[in-house]
Amino acid sequence: MSINRYLRHPFWQAILVLVIAYVLIEYGIPYLPPLIGISSAPVPQSVVLQYMLTVLAGVLIWVSDNEERWARFREPIRATLVDRDKRVLRIALLVIVPLLTGWLTFRAVRQTVAAPPSLRSIHPAPPSSITFRGQTMQLAGLENPLREGDLMAEAYRVGKRVYYQNCLPCHGDALSGDGHYAHGFTPAPLAFTGSSTIAQLTESFVFWRIAKGGPGLPREGTPWNSAMPAWEDILSEDEIWSVIVFLYEQAGVSPRTWEEAEGSGEH
């Protein structure tokens, strides 16, 4: 009976929604999907904060968009601040809340040995053209030449060899960015599987990244901290296009294609 009374009160409903949202974000997202075979991981604190702020905004909107609900929501807050019989609770809160705030602030600003989180753009802007072994290549509109005619099977075979000889230690056997050396790098090597990495890119972009590697990343957005070597001095042009064919085929995704009109406005 008394629990029902609490559950029908907007103040406690608001608290309950916030607690449920927190538990879902902090524990539900990392642990529930694996129960049905979907991989997941803990949610970074920056995202937890972002989600919780959104939920809090929603809760505040709900309790205050109606005069009666707003008045009931404020009842316990007002009672805690004013009522004589809540004196102990009031004093306890006046001590605990500033201490908690102080502790959280201290935790946020204290010096640690960990590197600070970095805002990193995962998708650098490619130049209009690159120089590959002395020759200028226009990246805009560039297609993989090995996708023409009957070259694909051979390209896949060559690409597979190139991948296992050169890329495997970092990008892994399953192309999921978890090779033997992967744990030693920050940022971690890119996974090629799924819909959010190479599936979003044109093959010319991937060519540029393989050929120029970390040293060839644009100045914008530095420091990149990428350990990716520049492969243009080691692999031939055909070998790079071949390994690109292998990556897409093996990951089961298609490269982004060029729109017909795209590139026509370049100058």
Partner: protein, 607 residues
């Protein structure tokens, strides 16, 4: 003295570099004006030849000085271009609909405009002087290409100012009969001049982003054809985007003005009037906001089409984080706009029947904001990165791509439209025989478009990127089609409808007015942020791949310092606009005095 003499000599002999075939178009007045500007900077000491490339501004540096001047000028400009549009519409409703409240509203809008107009001009002058003194080489390049358009701009500015004076000060004189129509004609003219002025200024800044293919660093800018420079790849998308954004911004500023006057009101009549004005301002802002993303999408697409590198820098490169902030701010706008409507429904008899549904709409909005603002690449410390296996979350990563985001924003737009529809229908009872069928059709359209949006959102994960891009068009068409069809049905259905009771204007809790303040602060900040994105993607180029910025301030600032400058701009604008609101109150008081003794004038509290 000698520099002034030089200026007049330049003007007299026409010694400034000219565009081909344009010499006879413009009077020497323009050359004098431009020459004076050059003299002001000490830049045109020897027949228009720049003697230095850059000036220096103390403490904050040249870049930030020009940035602040341009941004605050733009904020005022957006206000003075947006407000005439709905002053024109409000006056028309007053004339053709017979509701005098709208005429009074239009005049009150225009009074704000009058004072804000001076502020716009002052900040425009600050910007020009900063450009001429701090970036003389770049300014010489720009003025050499665009000089004719600059003179036309000055002429239009003159026309716009005097049309505005006629429009405002002629209000009470030309208030009846044919004269009233002529007065409304002034509102139309005011909008034509204002839009033309904006189009010209847009050509300068869009040229900096997307100079035509034929323009390279080699030839003299004097040989560039003016029209080809004006009609560049991003000119029209920016024009369209700005027209809509000006309406959004103007509506939100007017809403905030009404909120301020509501909170300061001394009588119920005043409260009722400003409550209604706040509603109108919010309606205009949110109504135009609904179509703004489509114009933004068009602009973004044109930027990609013009130069892929610039497009990726904007959306996927170092500016990608800016879009997460933008997404969060747009989420705030959707939540606040709906909140204002829901609170407003409590003062409408008959709205009770809709109130139980708002919590479910809120759930859709909150989930929509969460999805809309989920970053693709997350800010994470080393341990979190390791746990995720990179900066993409293995589970939440699916929410970071455009399929999820387009779905979320389209559903939020549909939900907001539903709020408007409920608000609109709250105190009305349709009398047409097909009302029930019509409502079922409306509900089916909502369900159908939501299903289309969800279907293409999910299907987008299983197709290639090029196909997925096309899906966003279907989603947008489904939502826009529903909005138009439902609205047409609603207008037809509610013709001659019975009233369930009059809206109790003024019977609004104070907190609803703070929602209007939140809207204006968010819109202003968003405007600064997006301005930085649009301008910043040029990176170290004054004119993209034509003229490089070689000054010490060439580096594009990181998001943190940029956010600080944007916040300063927002503060400057809001402080000045608050001062203007206060001035508006001072102007009004003397006019109220003679109205008080008039019988039956209790509802007429504003001029």
């Amino acid at each position: 003295m000698s520099s002034v003499a030089t200026v007049f000599r330049i003007a007299a002999v026409g010694n400034l570099p000219r565009l081909r075939g344009t010499r006879s178009l413009v009077p020497s007045f323009g050359a004098v004006a431009l020459g004076l500007l050059m003299a002001q900077s000490g830049f045109a000491q020897e027949a228009g030849i720049a003697t230095r490339e850059y000036g220096d501004f103390p403490y904050i540096g040249s870049r930030v000085a020009v940035w602040i001047a341009a941004q605050v000028h733009l904020m005022f400009a957006a206000f003075v271009l947006g407000v005439p549009m709905f002053a024109m519409v409000a006056e028309a409703i007053g004339i053709f609909g017979g509701d005098k409240r709208y005429d009074r509203l239009a005049k009150e809008f225009t009074r704000l405009l009058l004072i804000a107009y001076s502020a716009t001009a002052i900040w425009g002058a600050v910007l020009v002087f900063f450009l001429t003194t701090l970036y003389p080489r770049f300014w010489a390049h720009l003025s050499e290409i665009f000089e004719v358009s600059m003179w036309i701009y000055v002429g239009l500015f003159f026309l716009e100012s005097f049309t505005l004076y006629l429009y405002y000060y002629g209000w009470d004189r030309w208030k009846a009969g044919t004269a009233k129509y002529a007065h409304w004609g002034l509102a139309i003219l005011l909008n034509i001049w204002g839009t033309a002025v904006m189009f010209i200024a847009d050509s300068w800044l869009s040229y900096m982003m997307s100079p035509p293919e034929v323009i390279t660093a080699d030839p003299s800018p004097g040989v560039v054809q003016l029209w080809s420079a004006i009609n560049n790849a991003t000119w029209m998308p920016i024009n369209i985007h700005r027209i809509i954004a000006n309406v959004v911004f103007g509506g939100s500023v007017v809403g905030a003005y009404a909120a301020y006057r509501f909170l300061a009101a001394k009588s119920d009549e005043e409260r009722a009037h400003y409550d209604w004005m706040g509603y109108v301002g919010n309606f205009i802002a949110i109504g135009a906001l609904i179509i703004l993303p489509f114009a933004g999408y068009y602009l973004g697409r044109e930027i990609y089409e013009f130069n892929q590198q610039m497009g990726i820098t904007m959306m996927g490169g170092f500016m990608s984080w800016l879009w997460i902030i933008q997404a969060f701010l747009i989420g705030v706008l959707f939540l606040t706009g709906n909140y204002y409507l829901w609170v407003g429904m409590t003062r409408i008899p008959g709205a009770e029947r809709f109130l139980p549904y708002t919590k479910w709409m809120l759930v859709v909005l909150v989930i929509g904001v969460i999805v809309w603002a989920t970053p693709h690449t997350m800010i994470a410390n080393r341990a979190e990165l390791e746990a995720m296996g990179g900066s993409h979350h293995p589970f939440l990563g699916v929410l970071g791509v455009m399929s999820a985001k387009n779905t979320a924003v389209n559903l939020m737009i549909l939900t907001t439209f539903l709020s408007f529809l409920m608000y609109r229908r709250a105190n009305k009872r349709p009398v047409v025989g097909w009302a029930k069928t019509g409502t079922i059709v409306q509900a089916s359209l909502f369900a159908l478009s939501a299903a289309v949006v969800l279907f293409y959102g999910v299907y987008g994960y299983f197709v290639t990127a090029i196909v997925r891009i096309g899906f966003s068009v279907y989603q947008v068409l489904a939502v826009l089609g529903t909005i138009i069809a439902v609205m047409v049905l609603d207008v037809l259905m509610l013709r001659g409808s019975e009233s369930r009771g009059a809206i109790q204007w003024g019977n609004m809790p104070a907190r609803s007015q703070y929602a209007l303040f939140v809207l204006v602060v968010t819109f202003t900040w968003l405007m600064g942020l997006m301005g930085f994105a649009r301008s910043g993607i040029r990176q170290h180029w004054h004119v993209w791949e034509v003229m490089r910025d070689t000054s010490q301030w060439a580096a594009t600032p990181a998001l943190g310092p940029a956010a600080q400058v944007i916040s300063v701009c927002v503060l400057i604008f809001l402080v000045l606009i608050a001062f203007i609101f206060w001035l508006g109150g001072l102007v009004e008081k003397p006019q109220l005095v003679p109205e008080q003794p008039a019988p039956g004038a209790s509802g007429t509290v504003t001029s």
